[in-house]
Amino acid sequence: MMRGLAVASTLIVVLIALALFMRSKPILALKPLTTLLFSTAWHPSRGEFGFLAFIAGTLWVTLVASFIAIPVCILASIYLSEYADKRLREWIGPFIDILAGIPSVVYGMWGVLVIVPLVKNIIAPLFGGYSAGYSVLAGGLVLAVMISPVIIHISVEVLRTVPSDLKQASLALGATKWETIKFVVMKRAMPGMIAASVLGLSRAFGETIAVMMVVGNVARIPRTVFDPAYPLPALIANNYGEMLSIPLYDSGLLFAALLLLLVVIYFNVVSKMILSGSKWSLYYNG
């Protein structure tokens, strides 16, 4: 019986994919995949389901978040594992981990109260643009803060696995600490850092509530980071009420969920493959 349970739980991923696929079949049977993915015509009541604007919205927000979070997090994790003294590390590490548990709706609230006005009143005018505040940039900034704990946690773990013999050998040859990090530590830790970033990215990709509250939810392909966007998860979450009253709408939304699922599985498998062989095993213990 325990074996049955173990095998069954292993198959949950397949079960989820299958269930979503079955529910998206009606729309896949009627519309060619290329229309669904590459058309911007979104009029569910007229039977037009083009997801391009939503896919573009998701990509924009995810890329902006990664662009901000990845360099900052890698620098921070190098600092925490190589430079910071033990006491500081023992405070900051748990602090970041615990705050990672703050629910996304609270991140979203903070985004509306702090980040949206910041984008509207300070950042956009600074670059000579206009923004209502509810924009790709606001979504990206909130997401960047949200995914930082994940990236830092894993990166610090990865850096910890670099053998100290290697560092000492480099220091003994006269390299400065930074040169040691640049040429020895980073070389060794690079795959792990990439995996950490990919995992952070996949977290950003599927985040719903926090993003939905700050990106503006306008179904148009954004042209600048100051434009609003409408990512896929927000589309799903916003339309649960009416989706059963319009034909094919529920099928369309579950197709969107299937898309999210497949992309996230792909990200996770890639990062897992990069990391396989390295010592740590738990992604994230928030």
Partner: protein, 288 residues
């Protein structure tokens, strides 16, 4: 002198990057602290005993009396039920992987791999999946529906965290148990579970904390209501959605309550998270 070997240039480079690192670390810590500060500053003035002990009364969303007891209870019931269901599945699975299977078994590898993937699946997808299951069985938006979705959401978190601690149970301990004539089942539940109990409790707490804060998986599945949860099959209010809906209204009084609700939820989660940490630290001292 060769510029590349100039120690001053090299030091300068080091200092530039070091200040960038300090700046990055500071920025992240500051951003996270700012979130906490925003929630406390906005929420504290609106938090009152009445908010925590009353359900919404009529006209609540226009600024009249009432509280968020419906959402607090709904969240506790829903997440508690989900955590219980998740334990019922996770514990046997984790014990099976670690006690019954040999080291390096392909099933164990595949199971861990698939739990890791499940962990990464966004909660909105669990919501959509939970919704399709509910349609299949004819369940409407309800406490039960939300419970199912959250069970799926926290199952991988719980299993992977439990797995990490059960794995640490020394093989000698199990050997000693077998030598005394205990079966694998007895060894698993009486020796391994007891040894790993603090870690298992931490895993449960972590999963509970993750489950109670999630909104996206509940939008389709749990619904929302102003009355206290009484039935598994009736819609249930939850804290994250209560925050979301109240925050979305234009009335300042109602928004104030959203802040207070956010503070309540954040406090619950922080307490759970800190408790989980202390539990690990305190009990690992006395384990064999």
């Amino acid at each position: 002198m060769d510029k590349k070997n100039n120690i001053h240039v090299r030091r300068l480079e080091e200092n530039i990057f070091k200040s960038l690192m300090v700046f990055s670390t500071g920025a992240i810590v500051l951003a996270l602290a700012l979130i906490l500060w925003t929630v406390i500053r906005k929420g504290l003035p609106h938090l009152s005993l009445g908010m925590l002990t009353q359900a919404p009364k009529s006209g609540y969303y226009l600024g009249k009396d009432g509280g968020i007891l419906n959402a607090i209870l709904g969240s506790l019931y829903l997440t508690g039920g989900a955590a219980l269901l998740a334990i019922l599945v996770s514990l046997p699975v984790v014990l099976y992987l670690n006690v019954y299977l040999k080291k390096g078994s392909p099933l164990a590898y595949i199971a861990r791999f698939s739990f890791d993937i499940l962990w990464g699946i966004p909660s909105i997808v669990y919501g959509a999946f939970g919704f399709t299951i509910m349609l299949l069985f004819g369940v409407k938006s309800s406490l039960l529906g939300g419970m199912i979705a959250v069970t799926f959401l926290i199952f991988p978190i719980m299993s992977r965290s439990m797995d990490e601690v059960v794995r640490m149970v020394p093989g000698e301990l199990m050997d000693a148990s077998y030598a005394l004539g205990a079966t694998k089942l007895e060894t698993a539940f009486k020796v391994v579970v007891r040894q790993a109990l603090p870690g298992i409790s931490t895993a449960v707490l972590i999963s509970f904390g993750r489950g109670i804060g999630d909104a996206a998986s509940l939008i389709f599945t749990a619904g929302f209501t102003d009355s206290l949860p009484t039935s598994l099959l009736a819609p249930a209010a939850t804290l994250p959605l209560a925050i979301f809906f109240q925050f979305g209204t234009p009335m300042p009084e109602v928004q104030g309550r959203a802040y207070a609700s956010a503070l309540t939820l954040t406090l619950i989660i922080l307490v759970i998270s800190v408790a989980a940490r202390l539990l690990t630290r305190k009990f690992t001292k006395h384990v064999v």
